[in-house]
């Protein structure tokens, strides 16, 4: 497992050294927080903790988007030629893909934690147990969507196609999850899509923890868009956690398998510059 650790360490170093990317991951969520807290003020007047409700959604979205985009590290490795150094090393494909998924998760959890720290200054109140649970859910989100991201990157194998695919996946999933816009104020005809979106359940379990809703009655949870009553079938945050875990395992398996059999030998490598 030494090689997996080495890949994680290397990807972390690369992430930290890219100052622009680092700044972007802090500024983007803050920008969203600013915009949506204004936009949603009137719409969210019925919520118990409107600001924290929004903050929780934005934190978990940062982890989601971060894990998808961080798994593109492999695409820049292909473009820069470094991928060949990894491919001819005496390490297995599985070690490489697991290393990339792990580093995408670690980085996105760090991004989420950074935002959590800032949120503590704004007014989010947490105790250590809740924070630990939040980290757990963030890590689960990181592995799940890091796997999906790497799966898509392996299938597309170049940045241009990945951009298109990830735009198609990321945008609708984000907006139909209730993270930015509460699902309770969404039009009825969109609700089937909301129910089909795995991010919906990820968002609800994360809100459930960070807003300390463990003593809130189920009816109130449904009212706040943290639990869902689909024609009498109740999806509690706990069930949502199970759904996310299941999707995560499926994609982890699919991703590792896809990466094991992918042929990277004919990938065009940029010519050496002198």
């Amino acid at each position: 497992m030494n090689a997996v650790g080495a890949i994680v360490k290397r990807n972390l170093l690369n992430f930290v050294r890219d100052k622009g990317q680092l700044l972007g991951t802090i500024l983007m969520p803050l920008f969203f927080l600013f915009i949506f807290s204004f936009l949603m003020k009137s719409a969210m007047s019925g919520f118990a903790q409107p600001m924290n409700y929004l903050i929780a959604g934005i934190i978990i979205m940062t982890v989601f988007q971060g894990s998808i985009s961080n798994s593109t590290a492999i695409l820049s490795d292909i473009a820069s030629g470094f991928m060949r150094e990894i491919l001819v090393a005496p390490i297995s494909r599985t070690q490489i893909s697991v290393g990339h998924i792990l580093s995408a998760s670690v980085i996105s959890v760090l991004q989420g934690l950074l935002l959590t720290l800032i949120s503590l200054l704004i007014g989010l109140r947490l105790d250590p147990i809740h924070l630990a649970e939040m980290i757990g859910v963030m890590a689960l989100a990181g592995v799940t969507f890091g796997s999906i991201g790497l799966f898509l990157a392996t299938v597309s194998r170049n940045s241009a196609s990945f951009q298109i695919i990830s735009a198609i996946v990321v945008m609708p999933f984000t907006f139909l999850s209730g993270a930015y816009i509460p699902t309770t104020i969404m039009p009825k005809f969109l609700m089937p899509l909301v129910y089909l979106n795995p991010l919906t359940y990820l968002t609800s379990i994360f809100r459930f923890i960070s807003l300390k809703m463990e003593h809130t009655p189920t009816a109130a949870l449904v009212q706040e868009g943290v639990a869902y009553n689909i024609h009498g079938f109740l999806i509690t945050p706990g069930l949502g956690l199970l759904i996310t875990l299941l999707i995560g395992l499926v994609f982890l398996f699919l991703c590792v398998r896809q990466f094991d059999k992918a042929d990277f030998s004919n990938v065009k490598v940029a010519a050496r510059r002198h």
């Binding site: 050294r17 491919l87 030998s265």
Partner: protein, 305 residues
């Protein structure tokens, strides 16, 4: 000496296209082996298959006794590779690149430091250890890659055009490292190059064209077999010279007072020169080069792409 690389009836097909068609050769431990060919001849296909990146269609390929398709990880530990394209992580420092390589190749932590020091000293980059790779010049990056290819102490070092695009000074430097390495560590060097003068100093040369191996021998033997030595003389007595050449049944071309004489060995020139000692204005003995061999067997001039 032991056979370190064995290639027997290796073929690689892409659909109906035969990229490499039934080639065989061996490389002995500790030698510098040059693999030459025009662009698109099948050089990269062969190297990539030896390096376990591609799978062969048929034939046998072994490095240090291990099959390159069936025992990939064993082969990978035994080889170091410097590709034509850069494969360094540009955001990391020189040292970080080497350390990463050490963890990929399971170099014991206690030995990594010593090996990195050795490899960097060999390519004279000790002072650049903490420099970010992205900021280095092309020649320095190539040296970093050579150092990196060595830290796991491979048995064979593959160099795919290691000096292409480098200035003459850096080229000479890279060659000095390669020879030092071969002498000190008895590493086998397998290289492709566009520079015939570089191939000249190799122990064996293989030339591939259109997927077939068309020549495989020492540079001297190839030159003997495919080229001739010419003596160019300008004489004050062209008639006497011409008579002598005709009587001696030597093949020659006359051009005014200048004669181009094909001779078998350079020593044959001595005889002619001493005979006409007093009437020679100028002379030149030119041996056939590997470039001439290449031209003669492929019908093409080797060119840098």
């Amino acid at each position: 000496m032991q056979d370190i690389i064995e290639v027997e009836h290796f073929s690689k097909r892409y659909g109906d296209f035969k990229a490499v068609d039934d080639i065989s050769f061996i490389v002995k431990e500790g030698e510098i082996f040059a693999f030459l060919g025009p662009n698109g001849a099948g050089k990269s296909t062969t190297i990539n298959t030896l390096c376990t990146i591609l799978d062969k269609t048929s034939g046998e390929m072994r490095i240090n006794g291990h099959d390159v398709s069936a025992q990939k990880d064993k082969v990978r530990k035994d080889i170091g590779i410097v590709f034509q394209e850069s494969t360094l992580d540009e955001k990391l420092t020189v040292e970080e690149n080497l350390r990463l390589h050490c963890s990929f190749y399971q170099v014991p932590k206690s030995e990594a430091e010593e090996r990195i020091r050795f490899a960097l000293a060999l390519v004279e980059l000790t002072d650049w250890r903490k420099a970010t790779v992205g900021g280095l010049s092309g020649g320095m990056k190539r040296r970093v890659e050579i150092a990196r290819g060595l830290v796991h102490f491979p048995k064979v070092l593959f160099l795919d055009e290691p000096t292409t695009g480098l200035d003459p000074q850096t080229r000479a430097g890279v060659w000095a490292y390669i020879r030092k390495l071969q002498k000190e560590k008895n590493i086998t060097v397998f290289l492709t190059t566009h520079y015939m003068d570089e191939a000249e100093i190799c122990s064996h040369v293989a030339i591939i064209d259109r997927g077939k191996l068309i020549a495989f021998d020492t540079p001297e033997n190839l030159e003997k077999q495919y080229t001739s030595t010419t003596l160019t003389i300008r004489s004050r007595e062209p008639e006497r010279m011409e008579n002598y050449l005709r009587e001696g049944a030597l093949s020659y071309q006359a051009d005014g007072g200048r004669f181009l004489v094909n001779i078998g060995k350079t020593s044959q020139a001595l005889e002619l020169l001493s005979l006409f000692r007093n009437s020679i204005i100028d002379f030149e003995v030119k041996k056939g080069s590997l470039n001439d061999v290449f031209l003669s067997v492929t019908g093409k001039e080797i060119r840098a792409s």
